[in-house]
Amino acid sequence: MSNPTLGNRLSKDDITIQSSSNRNNSLTCGHRACQGCGEALGARCAIDAAHHATGGKIIIVNATGCLEVFSCSFPESAWNVPWFHSLFGNAPAVASGVAAALRITGKEDIRVIAQGGDGATCDIGMGCLSGMFERNDDVLYICYDNQAYMNTGVQRSGATPPLARTATTVPHKNYLGNDPQIGKNISQIAIAHEIPYVATASIGNIQDIEKKIAKAIHIRGSKYLHIHVPCPLGWGFPTSETIRIAKLAIQCGLFPLFEAQYGKLYGSIPIDDPIPVEDYLKPQKRFAHLFGKNATPDAVSVLQEVANSNIVKYGLNGGDI
């Protein structure tokens, strides 16, 4: 299924906040993200949506990572919202502290968002994230998933997909890149905490991000939103293709868009006609070794199986979840 243009004139439901000249530009011009950065777009989109839904009553806590470094380097901050950065591994706990402070001072109308990359979320900060979930602190945690440590030079993270090339998983003769394990499915881990709301989204579907943010931001308790944000530099594709790559990930089933409440999956965005994973993998240099002269056809099938299993598991074929 195609999604409509951002400023779709035909259906009011599909007009995005991103298309509005009144959007907050929560992450504004002059930031130092690379050309074509998916994370910069994802962050602006998500925070603008939250800003819109709350009338500007939001406080952001940011983990260390690309987003933090490119957006707020003295003497320039690109943030148009109250924004706080402490450490790499503690953003959820810091956000819990902000939420506690707001609760005790009767300002619970101000909503707290913690955000970080996949490294901060799946790896170094996972303890704090789990603690935040377990206490059901009133925080929306957003993970911008670009599937590796981009800020430090594209090293593997717990969210790096099987067989991907990173600086720490360089393919060699008898090594095909990141080990073909499933990796850490942080969204499922979030669901297992039975928090009020967990969802995945992608910058390939801005309408969906905005709807999910609007829904999540007013829920009391812990919420988790996992946004897929392709990285031209780390994944090796032209800077102009960021959105297209994000869409291909959705369309092949490797990045399923779903929602869960209180530990139960309850909805997903179906993909009408799944494309083969090759269509998504081939344009990316991090998977180039799977298609080169010495490629083994089995390798791609590992990823195709992940996609196939997602399609069934998340009802992307319109089936039951």
Binding site: G56, K57, I58, I59, V61, N62, E68, V69, C72, S73, F74, P75, S77, W79, N80, V81, P82, W83, F84, H85, S86, L87, G89, N90, P92, A93, V94, A95, S96, G97, V98, A99, A100, A101, L102, R103, I104, T105, I110, G127, C128, S130, G131, E134, R135, D137
Partner: protein, 398 residues
């Protein structure tokens, strides 16, 4: 009002009187009874308007406090030993962001080997972190220092760590005078931070700073610490006026007026030393004691002044910088560098080893001392461990 209380409970009462809004706790071994004491005060309704957040790690404990403080409310946590080391990244972060958090450190040894008893190794591991570090000598002072700490922290804009000897103070029952809520309220105004996370004035807090500016950031942090020496004294004076008690400040001096020998130390062991000094002064030995309250910022000028007549300075500390020796010792040597006085180092009480009056009397009765003495070291064990020909240690002197 006077109470007979365990040190942890006295501190809990003091913290509660300061009306913090967010308290977070993680019971890493070894934990004290402080936060559970505050928890009980909150749960019982004695302290209203305070969030008690039970976290999953010490890292989270201080991080929650960081978040709360950044959001503009008074926040507090407590830790010890390994827990402090686990949160050390956040310790540096809190001071770098100039967030006036108060944290009690129930001083304990750090491992390996694991050991839950008192010494000052934990505090020494964060001595350069940019926090104001105060040491309490008694439970009464521990209680008073907490009330002062909030005032100091919020006046200066830096976090304050109040060091209280684990077990020796935290678990000891002593009579303490607890001020009334009204008195504390008058002493400690409501927290009104200059900068916080405010939707009406959106600031970005916690930037990345490049080499062009980082030196200046560090210089200003140092200057701020040194400037706070004055504030610590002002708060001590104000506290005395309000509560009629001498607590806090930079140093506690005892019998130093005409003393030829002055023992410098940190924390509760000063009490034992004072007893010994009393006995020896009766024999006209002219011995005094200085215990440092404000370990960071380090009161160089005050120490210089107090030690200027001393012929001999003995630094007794419950910590060891492996590979060099005493830590406080080096700092006192720096203070004494332009004088003729001799400076000696005693490393004692590591991992909760008792420091007895007898040990101190014995040391002070020696005709001559080595530069560094490991007081109470069991020589036979060391000898056994190093069974080689030219080992000639005596009482731990290396």
């Amino acid at each position: 009002m006077q109470y007979q209380l365990e040190g942890s409970q006295a501190i809990a009462k003091a913290v509660a009187l300061c009306r913090p809004k967010v308290i977070c706790a993680y019971p890493i071994t070894p934990q004290t009874h402080i936060v559970e004491g505050v928890g009980e005060i909150i749960r019982s309704g004695e302290l209203l308007n305070c969030e008690f957040v039970i976290v999953e790690s010490e890292m989270a404990a201080l991080s929650v406090a960081i978040g709360a403080q950044a959001a503009g409310v008074r926040s507090y946590t407590a830790t010890s030993s390994q827990g402090l080391l686990y949160m050390i990244e956040a310790v540096y972060n809190a001071s770098g962001l100039e967030l006036p958090i108060i944290m009690t450190l129930g001083n304990r040894a750090i491992g390996s080997p694991i050991n839950i008893w008192n010494d000052h190794s934990d505090a020494m591991s964060v001595r350069d972190s940019g926090w104001i570090i105060l040491f309490a000598e008694t439970n009464q002072e521990a209680l008073d220092l907490h009330i002062q700490a909030f005032k100091i922290a919020e006046s200066v804009g830096l976090p304050v760590m109040v060091c209280v000897d684990g077990f020796i103070l935290t678990h000891a029952y002593e009579p303490v005078d607890i001020p009334s809520q009204e008195e504390v309220d008058e002493f400690l105004p409501l927290y009104n931070p200059a900068t916080s996370l405010d939707i009406h004035k959106p600031l970005a807090i916690g930037t990345m700073v490049s080499p062009e500016y980082f030196m200046e950031v560090r210089y200003l942090a140092h200057k701020k610490q040194m400037d706070s020496l004055k504030i610590i004294q002002c708060v001590r004076d104000e506290f005395r006026r309000k509560f009629g008690r001498d607590s806090g400040g930079l140093l506690r001096e005892y019998m130093t007026e005409d003393a030829e020998t002055i023992i410098v130390t940190l924390g509760s062991v000063a009490g034992t030393i004072k007893d010994v000094v009393d006995d020896l002064n009766l024999q006209e030995k002219k011995i005094g004691v200085i215990s440092i309250v404000s370990y960071r910022p380090f009161p160089i000028d005050a120490l210089k002044d107090s030690l200027k007549k001393a012929k001999r300075v003995i630094v007794l500390e419950k910590s060891l910088a492996v590979g060099i020796g005493g830590i406080l010792f080096q700092e006192i040597e720096l203070v004494m560098k332009d004088t003729d006085a001799e400076v000696f180092s005693i490393i004692a009480g590591l991992g909760g080893r008792n420091i007895t009056k007898f040990m101190l009397q014995e040391y002070l009765s020696r005709k001559s001392c080595k530069k560094i003495t490991f007081l109470g070291l069991k020589e036979e064990i060391i000898t056994k461990e190093y069974e080689f020909a030219n080992f000639c240690g005596r009482e731990g002197e290396v």
